[in-house]
């Protein structure tokens, strides 16, 4: 019997699970595919987190720092889980380091899968001219710009008029039919930050619905009432680069008015979709994927339960969710692993 828990994925959910388990007294084997811990917020250089503009470091820093330094957590960066055998309480897993190709074997009591998400690749949907026209960027790229405090177009000049296009790669049967749940709030957060950074900029949010759920609604209210951000209800049909500016074609559905307006910058609120890491982990661990490619829990209302005893789920590999939900799911999964430990070994 072993007192170690394998955590697959070093993002918010995985880190949270690792920290909780280590605090609880368990050993953690943390496997991360990339060369740095922190997951999407660190990889994409998120400036701050919705809804309260908390700096990313404030939330992620302590988690990463703990895992990097704790003797209870064995971190394998640049590594993937290649094999998993055994059953609850005693799994044997193979971890392969992708840089040197070496594989190590470990015995673990249970497994927490927290493989996270990828941003939708907007070049898949040709109507937004992403990758073809300059100054069409994703919200992930804007985050990095905001973090640098330098929001500029390809010519180095700050934009005067910016359009955010919502639901890019989301709620669309030609790409992903689901709602990514957080991009409304994140886009609005960014629009506010853009106003704060640039001051003299007109921001237009082109949306189908504003889904700032729960307390995130405050972002929506503040953006209108305090920052004068404009909202246009509709969906963009085409973005066309005129050689100088971006012509955005859409309809203002509130007035039955087709519009073709020039913008300096277009920000695409690219959605959340399951990445290759999730698919790979599910394959190795024998987990079922749902019709969308997310990992399907035994029943949709209980996220932690993977359907396989001793393997637990957390975070955006199950469904799109906010970072606060992701962190809670990490803790919830850690609790399941702790229960297994209590049954099998004395911690």
């Amino acid at each position: 019997m072993t007192g170690t828990v394998l955590v697959v994925g070093g993002g918010p959910a995985g880190l949270r699970a690792a920290v909780d388990l280590a605090d609880f007294g368990a050993r953690v084997l943390l496997v991360e595919k990339r060369d740095q811990l922190g997951g999407a917020p660190v990889r994409w250089k998120y400036r701050s987190l919705a809804p309260d503009f908390t700096p990313t470091e404030e939330v992620m820093g302590p988690l990463i720092g703990f895992c990097e330094s704790s003797p209870m957590v064995e971190v394998h960066k640049g590594s993937v889980v290649e094999g998993c055998e055994g059953s609850v309480g005693d799994f044997t897993v193979k971890v392969r380091n992708e840089a040197d190709g070496t594989t190590t074997e470990h015995r673990v009591s249970s497994v927490i899968v927290a493989t996270g998400f990828e941003h939708f690749d907007a070049s898949v949907d040709p109507r937004y001219a992403y990758g073809r026209a300059p100054n069409v960027i994703g919200i992930n790229e804007l985050e990095a710009m905001l973090k640098e405090g330098r929001v500029v177009g390809h010519d180095g000049r700050p934009p005067k008029r910016v359009a955010f296009i919502f639901c890019v790669g989301s709620r669309d049967r030609s790409t992903n039919p689901w709602c990514c749940t957080v991009c409304c709030g994140v886009s609005i957060k960014q629009a506010i930050e853009m106003k704060q950074t640039l001051g003299d900029v007109q921001v237009y949010m082109i949306y189908m619905d504003i889904r700032t759920v729960g307390l995130w609604e405050k972002l929506y209210w503040d953006s209108m009432e305090k920052y004068g951000i404009n909202y246009i209800r509709g969906r963009v049909g085409e973005v066309y680069y005129t050689g100088e500016k971006l012509l955005v074609k859409g309809e203002d559905t509130l007035v039955r008015g087709p519009f073709e307006v020039l913008f300096d910058m277009v920000v695409l609120a690219v959605g959340i979709e399951p990445g290759p890491g999730t698919k790979q982990a599910a394959g190795v661990l024998g987990l079922k994927l749902n019709e969308y490619g997310f990992i399907a829990p035994r029943q949709p209302n209980v996220h932690v339960d993977s359907g396989r005893d001793g393997i637990f789920l957390a975070g955006t590999c199950i469904a799109p969710m906010s970072i606060e939900e992701t962190l809670s799911e990490g803790s919830a999964a850690a609790m399941q692993a702790a229960k297994v430990l209590k049954k099998t070994v004395a911690v």
């Binding site: 237009y204 009432e225 404009n230 246009i232 007035v255 008015g257 519009f259």
Partner: protein, 157 residues
């Protein structure tokens, strides 16, 4: 009066499917000359496209500075004001929600079309009581009534 009416009826009478074109979109110069030749009449008639090509918030900013127009920026277009408005239920041309939006975005052709109807507001204040965002639509209708006559309205566009 009769002359006025006739002029209105004759506007753009050569246009096919004339009834689908708003008066505001037809441009007809009184007199058109090209190369010394009088080309007045149907040749000069121009139908402007419906497409919105610009967002212009100057009138909107003016409304914010007028009495009781200050909170108009809070509007999120839910339509609660129009839902409770007794005038809107009787006359589709008066729609507080719509008025606020076209002024916000500066849709000049639409403003021209409906601006005379803002004076239908009876001032009952039901909208202001219903508004979930504290926009005070009744007050905004006052500000708009003034703005449409004001130099600030012409500042736009």
């Amino acid at each position: 009066m009769a002359a006025e009416e006739r002029k209105k009826e004759e506007k753009g009478r050569f246009i096919a499917e004339r009834r689908y074109v708003d008066d505001q979109r037809i441009v007809e110069p009184e007199k058109l000359e090209a190369g010394g030749v009088d080309m007045s009449g149907r040749w000069g008639t121009l139908v402007l496209p419906r497409t919105i090509e610009e967002f212009d918030h100057s009138l909107f900013e003016g409304v914010k500075r007028l009495p009781r127009g200050g909170k108009v920026g809070k509007c999120w277009q839910c339509g609660n004001c129009t839902a409770v408005c007794p005038v809107a239920h009787a006359n589709p041309m008066f729609n507080p929600r719509y008025l606020i939006h076209i002024v916000r975005m500066g849709y000049q052709a639409e403003i021209e079309k409906v601006k005379d109807y803002v004076y239908l507001c009876s001032g009952c204040g039901l909208c202001s009581a219903a508004c979930p965002k504290d926009v005070d639509p009744q007050g905004v209708m006052i500000a708009l009534s003034i703005a449409f006559k004001s130099g600030r309205a012409k500042g736009g566009r």
